[in-house]
């Protein structure tokens, strides 16, 4: 038990450190903006997992609650004011309200029907955001001025460091709250509803009620996440309720792994890194994200959070050789395939833009011409090596004695 408490505390310490340290070391606008974006998506992804991982509800319209919370908070801040640090609470309550109403419509069934209702509702909200300018501000959205709220001590929150402090604090608090929620008997009942709703009904709880409770809680934290974005960019736009945002949080949660608490947080970090850092150097980042997502769903359903323990287990000192080689082959195969895909995608994009603009160079400084066969040869050979390694791994797996490792 003590060991577990220690690792738990370490994880939270790491989480808090990741939030605080980079901001403290490099308090520049770009870094803070990136961290704020990550923090907001982390909260959103964790809230999404309250529905998907805990209760088994797949939603295609989760961003609607985040965005609606943001709009409500923006209107509240503009018309009522108040201290900025308490604004996420407004967003959260608004999100919970909308979530409750949506839940009343959607939770009588689970599975595909629930997913389709959330799709319909998400599309409705996304389309309404463009149609009703008074509530959603039209194209320009609803702006706020951080500094116009009630000051806290010496802080006015116009400065980005102050705003980021609020965001990071709320990210940590929300994560702690959601973690506590997943430890309650309610969450255990939600797990039971996920696994076997008929049995839960036979025991005496209406599965619908549990689902509704979880959807409302998830929407509360989604509203908070939306407000964190609002605080960061000082504007609530129709994009915050878009289906693209819903897709983003879904992808983040699945890539990270829905089976553990911190999985979606890891996914959110990866996704933000891809969409900001990689997007800065490559036009193909969205393609990479798609490939990663499909690869996770097909071959690694436990996500990043599932792969890391597998790796750690294989690389420990007393691991059997077969297991270690198997994992290394797997990792190697992924690396080579990654190289192949990156080459092909970059060359492909270079070729595409040669068609459009005239410059057909990939990889920036290395200037590999898309028409020359060299680049494609690299891609093909990398793919070949990757396939070989995967084949070796498969053979090692079939030779290996002992139980099959699932998820890989």
């Amino acid at each position: 038990m003590d060991n577990r408490a220690l690792t738990g505390a370490l994880r939270w310490g790491l989480f808090a450190a990741c939030l605080a340290l980079p901001a403290w070391l490099w308090p520049h606008g770009a870094v803070l903006g990136y961290l704020a974006q990550t923090a907001a998506l982390v909260v959103l992804a964790l809230s999404y997992n309250l529905q998907l991982g805990t209760t088994g509800l797949l939603s295609f319209g989760h961003a609607a609650f985040a965005g609606l919370g943001a709009f409500a908070a923006a209107h509240w801040f503009n018309h009522v004011g108040g201290p900025l640090p308490l604004l996420p609470l407004v967003g959260g309550v608004a999100g919970a309200g909308f979530g409750f109403v949506a839940g009343l419509l959607a939770t009588r069934r689970a599975g595909t029907v629930f997913a389709m209702i959330t799709l319909g509702l998400g599309e409705c909200v996304a389309a309404a955001a463009w149609s009703v300018p008074a509530w959603f501000g039209g194209l320009g959205g609803v702006p706020i001025d951080r500094a116009s709220g009630t000051p806290w001590g010496a802080w006015q929150f116009g400065a980005q460091t102050q705003a980021y402090t609020v965001i990071a604090a709320w990210c940590l608090v929300s994560a702690l709250a959601m973690h506590a929620l997943t430890r309650t008997p309610l969450a255990r009942l939600a797990n039971a509803v996920r696994d076997n709703p008929a049995r839960v009904a036979a025991l005496g709880t209406e599965p619908r009620r549990v689902r509704l409770a979880m959807v409302t809680c998830a929407s509360f934290f989604a509203g908070i996440a939306g407000t964190l974005t609002l605080i960061d960019v000082e504007i609530a736009t129709p994009d915050s309720v878009s289906m693209a945002r819903s897709a983003t949080v879904l992808i983040a949660a699945v890539i990270g792994g829905t089976g553990t608490f911190f999985g979606p947080a890891a996914g959110a970090v990866v996704l933000t890194a891809l969409s900001v850092v990689v997007a800065g150097v490559s036009r193909a980042w969205a393609l990479y994200l798609g490939v990663l997502f499909v690869a996770v769903v097909v071959a690694a359903p436990r996500g990043i959070a599932g792969i890391v323990p597998t790796l750690a287990h294989a690389l420990r000192r007393d691991a059997p050789a077969a297991e270690r080689w198997r994992v290394l082959c797997g990792v190697g195969a992924c690396v080579f395939w990654g190289v192949a895909i990156v080459c092909a995608a970059e060359l492909g994009y270079a070729w595409r833009f040669a068609q459009d603009d005239g410059t057909g160079l990939a990889f920036g400084a290395w200037g590999i011409d898309a028409d020359a066969p060299a680049g494609w040869a690299v891609a093909c050979s990398a793919a070949g090596i990757g396939t070989l390694l995967w084949g070796w791994r498969a053979r090692l797996t079939s030779h290996g004695h002992g139980k099959r490792e699932d998820g890989r």
Partner: protein, 312 residues
């Protein structure tokens, strides 16, 4: 009256186009039990491929080869991707996979054909003067498209109901193990049928392309509407998809063409709305029609209008 008839024709043609898409989706759902989120992406792929083929070899070649190619791709996806995921049980993973495929195909299309919208030309055979029926000028290509769509309904319905293949398919859906024991290669059938469903989507794409522009966002805009339709009609019901397609087609066309605003409606009901909301016209809400219908139907009748299976 003239305007009404024209609207009705437009609604009918739009509905039939939607049906062409939802037919393939329904087929896949009937066979696999999975809602293929990537269906509209295969539609878009068909449109793009058809455009490329037509540019080199003409419309009729495109009509044949684009669906073939996309069907093969679809079959491949089923064989190597979907089947692995299905072994895990539960429909969530399948939905996630097809969702990921949709995303991936969209990105692939952006890579191969660029971001700019491509105009697909109407084939010269149908590019003539509109046919006049009862005093209405009806564009030839639209008539062709509607004819194809109706043919598809009849052919699919007949195939599933009457032919032996259809019988085996329906049996496999209910008692897969029994059908396998009878000697049918059920996995191969599933692959074939998935490929057929995606080929149908691509065919719809080739046919529907000249009516609008081809662009990467095509899959999203059309896709969500088609899912809504298939769910409204009842997952797995071809007749339901037909009814729902027409319903959405008519409702959306009439809404888009109407002049009334929310204010007019609520005035009749006696409720007062804030100005900003009341000023919203029905035409502005037209894109919402399929989803409003979807939510309304699902809340009242979770299995859709004619559906048989219910999840969860």
């Amino acid at each position: 009256m003239h305007a009404f008839a024209l609207q009705a024709f437009n609604g009918l043609s739009y509905g039939l186009l939607l049906f062409m898409l939802s037919a393939g989706l329904t087929l896949i759902f009937s066979v696999q039990g999975v809602l293929n989120f990537a269906h509209a992406s295969f539609y878009m792929l068909g449109a793009y491929l058809g455009y490329s083929i037509a540019a080199r070899a003409g419309f009729w070649a495109a009509l044949v080869f684009a669906p073939l190619a996309v069907g093969l791709l679809g079959a491949g996806c089923e064989r190597w991707l979907l089947r692995r995921v299905q072994a895990r049980g539960g429909h969530t993973s399948e939905l996630l996979l097809t969702f990921g495929l949709a995303y991936l195909i969209g990105e692939g299309a952006k890579l191969l054909w660029g971001l700019a919208p491509l105009p697909a030309p109407v084939p010269p055979l149908f590019d003539g003067a509109p046919v006049t029926v009862f005093g209405l000028a009806l564009p030839r290509y639209r008539l062709f498209m509607m004819a194809m769509s109706a043919t598809m309904l009849v052919a699919l319905g007949a195939l599933l109901r009457v032919s032996r293949i259809g019988l085996v398919v329906r049996a496999a859906l209910a008692h897969r193990a029994a059908v396998e024991a009878l000697g049918y290669d059920v996995p191969r059938m599933m692959t074939g049928l998935f490929g057929a469903g995606t080929a149908l989507a691509a065919l719809a794409g080739v046919i529907g392309a000249p009516l609008a522009v081809i662009e990467p966002a095509l899959a999203e805009t059309v896709g969500s509407v088609v899912f809504a339709i298939v769910v409204i009609g009842g997952l797995g019901s071809l007749g339901g998809a037909f009814v729902a397609s027409l319903a959405v087609g008519f409702a959306q066309t009439f809404a888009a063409a109407s002049d009334t605003s929310l204010r007019d409606i609520v005035q009749w009901a006696g409720i007062a709305l804030p100005d900003s909301v009341a000023a919203v016209s029905i035409a502005q809400l037209a894109p919402l029609v399929p989803y409003l219908l979807l939510v309304a139907v699902l809340v009242v009748r979770p299995r859709g209008l004619f559906g048989e299976r219910v999840d969860g």
